[in-house]
C-alpha cells in the first residue's frame, strides 16, 4: 500500500460541501423559493479487476453533484447538476423556481417543522483513512491473490469471471432553508471473486457453472483475507456442478443468508410509508397485526457504529433513530419520511433517504433480521425434505397482491442432509403466507451489507420443476 493516493476525504472536504450547500440554499431563496433543500455529494471510486491473473480493468475517478429541491407556494421542482461553480448554481436555482411554477400546489409538500431538525450530528465512525491510502497496484494484488486462491483450490475450476477489488470514498452535505446543515464522510471497500467451471454431467448439453463470494467493510482491516474469499468462492461454485431440475412439488424452502436478505428487503418494500399512502402494498391497514411468524423480528438501525448503511441524519434533515419494522411477527408502524408521514397523518420516523436528483422517500439504513437460537446445521438437520436456496432470479413479486414467484438455485435437502445441486426451478407462494410459514431461524448473522438476515426456513412453498401441470 502506498501513501498519498490523493483521494482522502477530510473534515475540511465535508465543511467545503456544507458551505456549497448553504450557498445554494441562499441563492435559491434569492431566486424566489419559499424553501430550499440542497444535497451535495463528492465521491471517488477505484475499481481494480483481474482475470486469469492479468489486470483487466483499472477505473479511477472522482465526481461531484448537487441536488436541489425548491418549494414555492407548495409547488415543487427537483433539479441537479455536476457543475458546482457559483454562477452555474445560481442559474440552476433560477431555472428550478421557474420549473416549480408548473407544478400544482401540494400543501403537504412543505419542509419539516424546523423544531424537528437534527441539531447535532452523531459520530458513527464511517470513514477509514486506510481505505483512501489504497492505490491501484495494491488493489490489483488483492484481486490477483483472491482469484489465484480460487483457481488453485480445485482442479474443476477451469475458467474465471475474474476478481474485483473496489472502494468508494465520499462526503455528503445537506442544508435546508429551515436551518439544518450537516455532513459526514464514508468509506467502503470490497472484494468479489467469481470462479467458473465446466459441467459435463450431461454430455449432450454441457454447461458452465458460475459462483462467487465476497467480503466488504467500511474498514480495511475488517475485510476477510483475499485467499479466504477465493476459497469460499470455489467451494460454492464447484458444489453446483451437476445441478438438475427436480419434480414439481410442495416442500420446505430454506433461504441462505445471501438470499434471506433479499427477502427481508422485499418486506421493507411493502412496509414503508410511501407504499402505504400509495396503497401499493398488500400490508396496507395491517399495522399492529400478526403479519409474519412470531420468530420474525426486523429492525432498521441507522446508528450502528461502522454500519454499512448507517447515517447520522436523514434525507429531511431529521435525527435518525432505531425503528422496529416487525416485532415477533407483528407489523410495527411503518417507516416514514416527512411527506409520507403527513400523507398518513403521523410523524416521520426519521427514515428519509434522498438522492441527488429526487424527492425524499422512506429508505432503509441497516435493516437487520434478528438471529434465532439454532445453528444453521441444526436447522438443515431438522428439515426432512426441501430446497436450500442459494440464489434467486427475476423480479416476480407483485407488491399490491403479494404474489411471489421467482427462479431459484440451490441444493436438495433429504432427511436433514444437503444432497445434490438444483437449478432451473421456481418457488412460489403468496408473500403473506411465506412470512407466516417461517418456522425456523438460525443464528448465523454477519453485518457485511446494509440489509442482513440469518438462514431461515419457510415450512412449505410450491416448487415448479419437471412435469405435473397437465390437466
Amino acid at each position: 500500500m502506498s501513501s498519498g493516493s490523493g483521494v482522502e476525504v477530510t473534515d475540511a472536504t465535508v465543511r467545503e460541501l456544507c458551505d456549497i450547500a448553504q450557498l445554494a440554499v441562499q441563492l435559491a431563496k434569492a431566486a424566489g423559493a419559499d424553501a430550499a433543500e440542497v444535497l451535495v455529494r463528492d465521491g471517488s471510486e477505484l475499481t481494480a479487476k483481474v482475470r486469469l491473473g492479468q489486470p483487466e480493468l483499472v477505473q479511477e475517478a472522482g465526481s461531484r453533484a448537487l441536488g436541489l429541491r425548491v418549494i414555492r407556494g407548495g409547488r415543487r421542482a427537483v433539479t441537479y447538476t455536476s457543475d458546482l461553480r457559483r454562477e452555474a448554481i445560481a442559474a440552476l436555482c433560477a431555472e428550478s423556481v421557474t420549473l416549480a411554477d408548473f407544478a400544482e400546489a401540494d400543501e403537504l409538500a412543505l419542509p419539516p417543522d424546523p423544531k424537528l431538525l437534527a441539531t447535532s450530528i452523531p459520530e458513527l465512525d464511517l470513514y477509514d483513512p486506510r481505505v483512501a491510502e489504497v492505490d491501484a497496484a495494491w488493489a490489483l494484488k488483492q484481486a490477483i491473490a483472491g482469484e489465484a486462491a480460487a483457481r488453485k483450490a480445485d482442479a474443476r475450476v477451469t475458467n474465471s469471471e475474474g476478481a474485483t477489488w473496489s472502494r468508494v470514498l465520499g462526503a455528503t452535505a445537506f442544508a435546508t432553508s429551515g436551518g439544518f446543515v450537516g455532513g459526514y464522510r464514508g468509506s467502503y471497500a470490497s472484494l468479489v471473486v467469481e470462479p467458473l467451471c465446466d459441467d459435463a454431467t450431461d454430455p449432450a448439453n454441457p454447461k458452465k457453472r458460475n459462483g462467487y463470494w465476497w467480503t466488504a467493510s467500511r474498514f480495511l482491516a475488517e475485510l476477510d483475507l483475499a485467499e479466504a474469499v477465493g476459497l469460499e468462492a470455489t467451494r460454492r461454485t464447484v458444489a453446483t456442478i451437476g445441478s438438475r431440475k427436480v419434480d414439481t412439488q410442495e416442500c420446505a424452502i430454506v433461504f441462505d443468508p445471501e438470499v434471506a436478505r433479499s427477502i427481508v428487503g422485499t418486506i421493507f418494500s411493502v412496509a414503508n410509508g410511501s407504499s402505504f399512502w400509495r396503497k401499493s402494498s398488500y400490508l396496507v391497514g395491517r399495522e399492529g397485526d400478526l403479519v409474519a411468524s412470531p420468530l420474525v423480528t426486523i429492525v432498521d438501525d441507522p446508528l450502528i457504529m461502522r454500519g454499512p448503511g448507517s447515517r447520522p441524519f436523514d434525507g429531511d434533515g431529521l435525527p435518525t433513530r432505531k425503528n422496529p419494522v416487525i416485532e415477533a411477527g407483528v407489523l410495527c408502524p411503518v417507516l416514514c419520511d416527512v411527506y409520507s408521514g403527513r400523507k398518513l397523518g403521523r410523524a416521520s420516523t426519521g427514515s428519509a433517504g434522498r438522492g441527488v436528483g429526487g424527492n425524499p422517500s422512506p429508505t432503509t439504513s441497516n435493516l437487520v433480521m434478528s438471529a434465532g437460537n439454532m445453528t444453521r446445521d441444526a436447522l438443515i438437520k431438522s428439515t426432512k425434505r426441501g430446497l436450500y436456496v442459494t440464489s434467486l432470479m427475476g423480479f416476480g413479486f407483485n407488491a399490491v397482491t403479494g404474489d411471489f414467484s421467482r427462479g431459484a438455485q440451490g441444493f436438495w435437502i433429504e432427511n436433514g442432509e444437503l444432497t445434490f445441486p438444483v437449478s432451473e426451478v421456481t418457488i412460489a407462494a403468496n408473500f403473506d403466507e411465506i412470512l407466516k410459514r417461517i418456522d425456523a431461524v438460525a443464528d448465523d448473522i454477519e453485518m457485511r451489507s446494509s440489509t442482513v438476515a440469518p438462514t431461515f426456513r419457510v415450512s412449505h412453498m410450491m416448487l415448479a420443476g419437471n412435469s405435473p401441470a397437465k390437466a
Partner: protein, 488 residues
C-alpha cells in the same frame, strides 16, 4: 452527425463547435497523446452532455418537475486485454489531462513504446432519429396536459380504478468521440419515455397495471392514436381491471404461447446476452464455441438491428465510433455471429458490429444489444392459440434475468391467461417462467406472421450499466416451459 436542428444554446453541449469549451481534433489528439504516453496501444476520449427532464402526476395532481444536467469526459486506454478508465466532470485542460494520464497508467511499467495517434476523420453517420423539434424545447404545459389526459382516460375506463400515476421523461444526449486510430464521431440522441400505472380495487382485492412507451421521438410520438396519452392511460387501466379476476397460476411444464412484441424480452434474456461477444471472448457463455452450430429451432432467425427508425434501441453510432448496423445472429436456427465491441472484434478477427455501448462517460463500453428481434413466421396467430389444449398465453412482462454461464433464464409475466381447449380463459396471477436458453429456443415450434416491435419501454442492465433497448417478436409457441405458479 445527426441532423437535429434548432437546439437552443442551453441544450447544446459546451464541447460542440462554437460551445464554451469547444473540443476540436487538435485538442483531442493532445489528450489521446497523453493517454498513450505510458505505452497503451489504443485510447479513446468520449465527451457527453445530457439534459433531462421529468414530470410526474399522482392523485390527479402534477406533483414534481425535475431537470438535470450532466457533462463529462471518459478516457479509456487499453493495453492488450487490459483497460484503464478515468473520467472527469470538468472540461478544464488540467482535469482532462489528469484523467488521460490516470487511464494511461494501465500500461505503465511495461516498457512499451507509445503508439502514434492517427489523424482524425469524421465517421459518416446515418440518421435514424432526426427529430425536428426535440420535446425538451416544447413548453412544459404541453407535457403536463399529456399526463392529465392519461390520468383522465385511466379513471374513465372503469370506476374500479382507484389510483393512477403518470410520468413523462425526456432527454437529449450529445456525444463526441475521438479514438487514437483516427475515428471521430458526433451524435445527438433524443429519448422520450411515457408511463402510466393504475391500481384497481374491488371487494378488498387490489391489482395493478401499467402502460407506456416511447423512443427516439419528439412530441410527434403522441400524434398517433395507438400511442397517444389516452391509449397508454386506458391500457394501464385495462390490465389492472383484467387482473382483478386473476387466479393462481399452475406449477410445472406447460406449452406457452408468447404474444407479439413485448415477448421479445424472452429472446433478449434467453439468447441475446449469451451472444454478447465479451462472454464468448472469455469463454464464460454457454454459447462459447457454438458458431456455425444449430442453437435454436430452424424456425428461428434472430437479428439485432441498431438501425430501426426512432426505436428506443436505435443508434446512429455506438459509443466506440462504429455506425449502428443490422446484425444477423441466428439464421434458421444456426448461430452465425456474436455482437461485438472493439475488443472482442479484435479477438475474433472480425469487424466491430456497432454494439459497443456504455451507460455514460463514467463507464467503459461493452457489447450490448440494440433492437433484438425474432423474425416473423408463417402461422396465423389465432391458429397458434387454437393449437394448444392446455397452456399459458403470455401478454405483458415485467422483466427478466439470465445466468450467462449456464443459460438459465427467468422472465416475469404481469398479464397472462390460461389457454384451455384453444381458447384464452382465466387471467392468471403474476408468475415467472424459467428455462434454459438453448433448450427453449429448440422448443419453438410455431411462429406467427404478426411480427411486432415493442413500444419503447425496455432498459437493459449489465455489470451495473443501464442502456435503452427494444425487442420484437411475432406470436411464438414454445412446446414446453416451466411455469412457476402455485397450483398442481
Amino acid at each position: 452527425m445527426a441532423t437535429t436542428t434548432a437546439l437552443p444554446a442551453a441544450l447544446r453541449a459546451p464541447f460542440a463547435p462554437g460551445g464554451a469549451s469547444a473540443i476540436d481534433a487538435q485538442l483531442a489528439q493532445r489528450l489521446l497523446g497523453l493517454a498513450l504516453e505510458a505505452g497503451g496501444d489504443y485510447a479513446d476520449v468520449y465527451f457527453e452532455f445530457r439534459v433531462s427532464a421529468d414530470y410526474a402526476l399522482e392523485d390527479e395532481q402534477i406533483k414534481t418537475l425535475g431537470r438535470g444536467i450532466t457533462l463529462g469526459l471518459g478516457v479509456r486506454v487499453t493495453r492488450g486485454d487490459a483497460t484503464g478508465y478515468a473520467y472527469c466532470e470538468d472540461l478544464a485542460w488540467e482535469k482532462m489531462a489528469h484523467a488521460a494520464r490516470t487511464a494511461g497508467q494501465i500500461a505503465a511499467g511495461g516498457g512499451h513504446k507509445p503508439v502514434d495517434v492517427s489523424p482524425h476523420t469524421t465517421v459518416a453517420l446515418p440518421s435514424f432519429y432526426a427529430v425536428p423539434t426535440p420535446s425538451l424545447v416544447v413548453p412544459a404545459p404541453d407535457k403536463l396536459a399529456l399526463l392529465r389526459a392519461a390520468d383522465k382516460a385511466a379513471r374513465a375506463f372503469d370506476p374500479r380504478i382507484v389510483k393512477v400515476q403518470a410520468s413523462f421523461a425526456e432527454s437529449i444526449k450529445e456525444v463526441l468521440l475521438f479514438t487514437s486510430d483516427g475515428r471521430q464521431a458526433h451524435d445527438i440522441q433524443p429519448m422520450i419515455r411515457f408511463g402510466v400505472s393504475a391500481v384497481a380495487e374491488e371487494a378488498g382485492k387490489r391489482q395493478s397495471g401499467s402502460g407506456g412507451g416511447g423512443g427516439r421521438y419528439g412530441m410527434d410520438y403522441f400524434a398517433q392514436a395507438k400511442t397517444d396519452a389516452i391509449a397508454h392511460g386506458r391500457e394501464a387501466a385495462r390490465v389492472a381491471i383484467a387482473m382483478l379476476d386473476a387466479r393462481d397460476a399452475p406449477a410445472g411444464d406447460l406449452p406457452v404461447v408468447l404474444g407479439p412484441g413485448d415477448s421479445g424480452i424472452l429472446l433478449h434474456e434467453a439468447v441475446g446476452h449469451g451472444l454478447e461477444a465479451d462472454f464468448n471472448r472469455k469463454e464464460t457463455s454457454n454459447y462459447t464455441g457454438q458458431l456455425g452450430k444449430q442453437v435454436a429451432s430452424t424456425l428461428c432467425t434472430v437479428i439485432d438491428d441498431g438501425t430501426l427508425q426512432s426505436s428506443r434501441g436505435a443508434i446512429n453510432v455506438d459509443d466506440e465510433g462504429y455506425a449502428g448496423q443490422e446484425n444477423v445472429l441466428i439464421k434458421d436456427g444456426i448461430l452465425v455471429a456474436y455482437m461485438h465491441d472493439r475488443m472482442s472484434a479484435k479477438h475474433f478477427g472480425v469487424a466491430p458490429s456497432g454494439n459497443g455501448r456504455r451507460e455514460s462517460f463514467r463507464a467503459m463500453p461493452m457489447p450490448r444489444m440494440t433492437n433484438t428481434q425474432l423474425m416473423g413466421g408463417k402461422d396465423d396467430p389465432d391458429e397458434i392459440i387454437k393449437s394448444v389444449k392446455r397452456g399459458i398465453y403470455a401478454k405483458r412482462f415485467s422483466g427478466g434475468q439470465v445466468n450467462i454461464s449456464n443459460g438459465d433464464f427467468v422472465f416475469s409475466l404481469s398479464e397472462s391467461y390460461l389457454i384451455e381447449d384453444g381458447k384464452l380463459t382465466a387471467p392468471l396471477k403474476g408468475v415467472n417462467l424459467i428455462g434454459n436458453g438453448p433448450d427453449i429456443l429448440r422448443k419453438v415450434d410455431m411462429l406467427g406472421n404478426d411480427f411486432l416491435l415493442s413500444d419503447g419501454i425496455w432498459t437493459c442492465g449489465k455489470d451495473g450499466q443501464s442502456v435503452p433497448v427494444n425487442v420484437a417478436t411475432p406470436t411464438v409457441r414454445i412446446s414446453s416451459i416451466t411455469v412457476g405458479g402455485t397450483q398442481v
